[in-house]
Amino acid sequence: MSRIELKHIDKFYGDNHVLRDINLVIEDGDFMTLLGPSGCGKTTTLRVVSGLEKPQGGVMTIDGVEMINADLAYYAEPSKRGLNLVFQSYALWPHMTVRENIAFGLKIQKLPKEEINRRIQDALRMMRIEEYVDRYPNELSGGQQQRVAIARAVASNPKLLLLDEPLSNLDARLRVDMRSELQRIHKELGTTIIYVTHDQVEALTMSTKIALFKKGELSQVAPPMELYMNPIDLEAADFIGNPRINFLAGKAEKKDGKLFVKCELDSYVFPEEDFTGETIPEGEFDCVVAIRPEQVQIFEEPGEDRIPVTVYANQPAGSETLVSLKRGESEFLSKQIGLAHYDLDQQVYVSVAPEKINVYNAETTRLIKRAH
């Protein structure tokens, strides 16, 4: 169990500035997910934490002990940091059996034989792969290899467990299984976990906190639901959520402490307590109204606060139905639970709860009005 603090971490590959002033605190017992598209620096951050990469700037402490001090060119060796890592490729040593793979690090720690055996047993039992103990990695399926890799990592009782896209090589069904498995491990061991992924579903379902990366910078750190509800800028909003969030261009103006917003769908007035603290420009300015598809409710009949729109396309998919709607030049998507059917060009009525709407400053792309 440990608390990790990254301060002003900078990392270059040649002239390529891959990590820009990363500041991140991971609390004891957190399941922290580093999320972002490929090439955004999340894996590099993980490797910096693990000690496999040496950043050119910044400080890192684990439980208050300095592990990295770039100014002093001090970098603690990976094995001295009390952590373990599960690689994306699993990195199981092909010339060793499952037992030997797990025992390797324990032997180096010079643990007594009984202790090693006990740890191997525990780890295998936890991952439910006891029967494969004498197999070689190439005699195991991808999912089993994955479990061995995790067993190897947890057998050393790490204070901090690092996982680098561990599920990306598994098929969709195994991935769902492993997600619950990982959540269970986190609960059972109580270990702090740093988890790297580009898959937002993984991030949203497992983490206690998500750190969203963008081009080597940290753009937002928040619990999953907060990240989903209030992405900090347009890019984050666009990245999180499937189907994608609806963006509607609009005009906004702050008057009498309230925000007046107009877009093709409707006009809204938002109270001051929903503001984010981001500075709001004087006078009228361009804004973007962002609405999650599941917040757009469709009705066949007109009614209060219902706005007439036309159906542009209709995609029933069994458990849900995606409906593309159009009002004026603006197109947006609605997600209905269950099967629904609408004719193309049919006139329907929609309503959106104003408190569920996000408003962004079009120029700075930052969130100015929160949803709740």
Partner: protein, 597 residues
């Protein structure tokens, strides 16, 4: 201060850095310094020329050697003539071997020619035979009265003119039958790696078969063909054994053969200058090629994924192509080998295979009464020279290939783990230098370097020692060995090492517990291929040979030059068997002969 201390500790405490540093120093000493030394020697007055250069002292700067070579009275005979001969031989060898190899590669990779597996094996066998053995086989078939004893054809009553038996035609054909393997292997693997969907797409677009061949297939394999051209050209220009066996008898010299005359004679420094010309020539060809194809080199591997390839049906062309293949294999392999083996049993070469002309004397002859018939030597199995040469060959190949293969793995480790970093690139480039040099040019450089003691006797004069021969063989095979080491190390993902690091393994433990066990198989196959390559070597070690260090290949060469053809043949048959056995063993370990140059 702490920062500096930590930085220093960071570098010193990591054994990897130490290993890199030592290897770079060693490479520098073994490759860069000898090259510079040899270049310097061509500008320095040596003892032998003191009286020819008035007023000069030993060690003075001079342009005498270069003037002698380039603009002297003899330069037509010493440089320009042989240079022209080398270029002509190289050019025609390319002209014959590249189309031949490419067609064979295409047949095996892309068509439904029957017996492909067997064919693929047979076609590379000629490459396993050392090229100088081929020249002996050629002589066994075509020898005429000019060199004393008759060959197979002359014995059958055909008159073989000198121009066919010796000289450029013979050299070109012999080398072509050796070096076509480059084109074969290159084109074949390029074709294999091109997804045939690319061609099928052309078909869907409405292109005809010749159009597809012209605008899709050929452009895609062109880079491989070009690099085969380059390898063939640079190798054939520098080849010594074939050119000497087939050219010396009629005074036909190439740059390589002429150079050896100078190095064993005088002025030696002129020989060094010629060696520099050879190196420059090879470097020029290779760099021209890189400029020409440059980025396009990566073509062939792009389609590597999926790799579905459909065979082209040959239809009516199948029969003639099969005939072509059989005829080719017969003339390139079966007949010369048959004649070569049979000659070892003949009393008089070219006198047919009647029982009264057959003997085992060349192998096991010891009877004193028969001896005057042929030579003053006993049959090779009773010949102490032969015994010594077998011992020398085995000793040399074993020691040199163990060292080479080990170094190769280390160098490969450094290049792969340092990929994109300065030391990785530097290692790769340094290791590549011996590749530019033909065997004889390379050994010349070492002779120049080690003929006198260095560092005040710390490195003694190694001239004429077995150590020097080992050292030369090792360094010359660095490019190949490190390439096989690199390929081997590439297969070991860095993550496997990092995982060990995270589990607390230090450099030593990482190497012994993770890298070495995983590298084992690749190491063995790399070792075997190096072993074979050193076992068949002649060009590389020929100028260092003397009575004490004679290897089998050199003994065969000298016997042949002395007109003792049957004995020379018998020795080359032994070398061939030796190589074949090694190859079969190597194959068991998954070695691929296609990677052995």
């Amino acid at each position: 201060m702490t920062r500096l201390k930590n930085q220093f500790l960071g570098v010193v405490k990591n054994p990897f850095n130490l290993v890199v540093m030592i290897s770079l120093i060693v490479l520098f000493c073994l490759i860069v310094i000898p090259l510079l030394q040899m270049i310097a020697a061509t500008f320095t007055v040596a003892k032998g020329e003191l009286r020819r250069i008035p007023g000069a002292k030993v060690g003075d700067f001079t342009l005498y050697y270069w003037k002698y070579l380039v603009a002297g009275q003899m330069s037509k005979a010493t440089l320009w003539g042989p240079l022209k001969n080398s270029l002509i031989c190289g050019f025609f060898t390319v002209l014959v071997s590249v189309p031949l190899g490419s067609v064979l590669g295409w047949l095996v990779a892309r068509t439904d020619i029957p017996g492909k597996k067997l064919l693929g094996m047979l076609v590379v066998i000629p490459y396993m035979i050392p090229s100088w053995c081929k020249s002996l086989a050629w002589l066994a078939v075509f020898r005429n009265k000019t060199s004393g004893s008759l060959g197979f054809l002359e014995g059958m009553g055909l008159h073989i003119p000198d121009w066919l038996a010796y000289g450029p035609v013979a050299i070109v054909l012999c080398m072509s039958l050796h070096y076509y393997a480059f084109s074969y292997i290159h084109v074949q693997s390029a074709l294999r790696s091109i997804n045939s969907e690319l061609e099928e797409m052309g078909e869907i677009c409405g292109a005809t078969k010749p159009q597809i061949l012209k605008s899709i297939t050929i452009p895609l394999v062109l880079p491989s063909v070009l690099s085969a051209v380059v390898m063939t050209l640079s190798k054939s220009i520098g080849t010594y054994g074939v050119a000497a066996n087939l050219g010396n008898r009629i005074g036909y010299f190439t740059l390589a053969t002429k150079m050896k005359n100078f190095i064993n004679g005088s002025p030696q420094n002129v020989g060094f200058a010629m060696s520099i010309i050879l190196i420059a020539l090879a470097a020029l060809i290779i760099f021209a090629n890189q400029r020409l194809i440059g980025v396009r080199k990566s073509y062939a591997t792009i389609g590597g994924k999926g790799g579905r390839s459909t065979e082209m049906r040959l239809g009516k062309a199948k029969a003639p192509l099969m005939v072509f293949l059989v005829v080719f294999l017969f003339f390139a392999m079966v007949m010369p080998m048959f004649v070569l083996v049979m000659e070892t049993f003949q009393i008089n070469t070219g006198a047919g295979y009647a029982l009264k002309n057959l003997t085992l004397y060349n192998w096991i002859g010891s009877s004193e009464e028969l001896a005057p018939y042929y030579t003053s030597y006993k049959g090779i199995f009773y010949n102490s020279e032969f015994g010594k040469s077998v011992f020398n060959t085995v000793r040399l190949t074993l020691i040199a290939s163990v060292i080479t293969a080990l170094c190769g793995q280390f160098l490969g480790y450094i290049t792969t783990r340092g990929r994109g970093k300065w030391y990785g690139n530097l290692t790769e480039q340094l290791v590549f230098i011996p590749y530019l040099m033909s065997g004889i040019a390379f050994s010349t450089m070492y002779v120049a370097m080690f003929s006198k003691p260095h560092l005040g006797g710390l490195i003694p004069s190694l001239y004429g020692t077995f150590t020097l021969i080992v050292l030369t063989s090792v360094v010359k095979h660095f490019p190949f060995a490190s390439r096989s080491g690199t390929a081997n190390m590439m297969q070991i993902a860095v993550e496997l090492e990092e995982a060990a690091e995270i589990n607390g393994a230090g450099f030593g433990k990482k190497l012994t517990r993770i890298v070495l066990p995983l590298a084992k198989n690749g190491f063995i196959s790399g070792f075997m291929l190096t072993f074979i390559s050193i076992a068949k070597e002649l060009d590389l070690i020929i100028i260092m040979m003397d009575k004490r260090t004679t290897t089998m290949s050199y003994l065969a060469f000298t016997y042949s030059q002395d007109g003792m053809n049957q004995m020379a043949d018998a020795i080359s048959v032994c070398v061939l068997l030796f190589i074949l056995v090694c190859y079969i063993i190597a194959n068991k370990f998954g070695a691929d002969i296609g990677k052995s140059w």
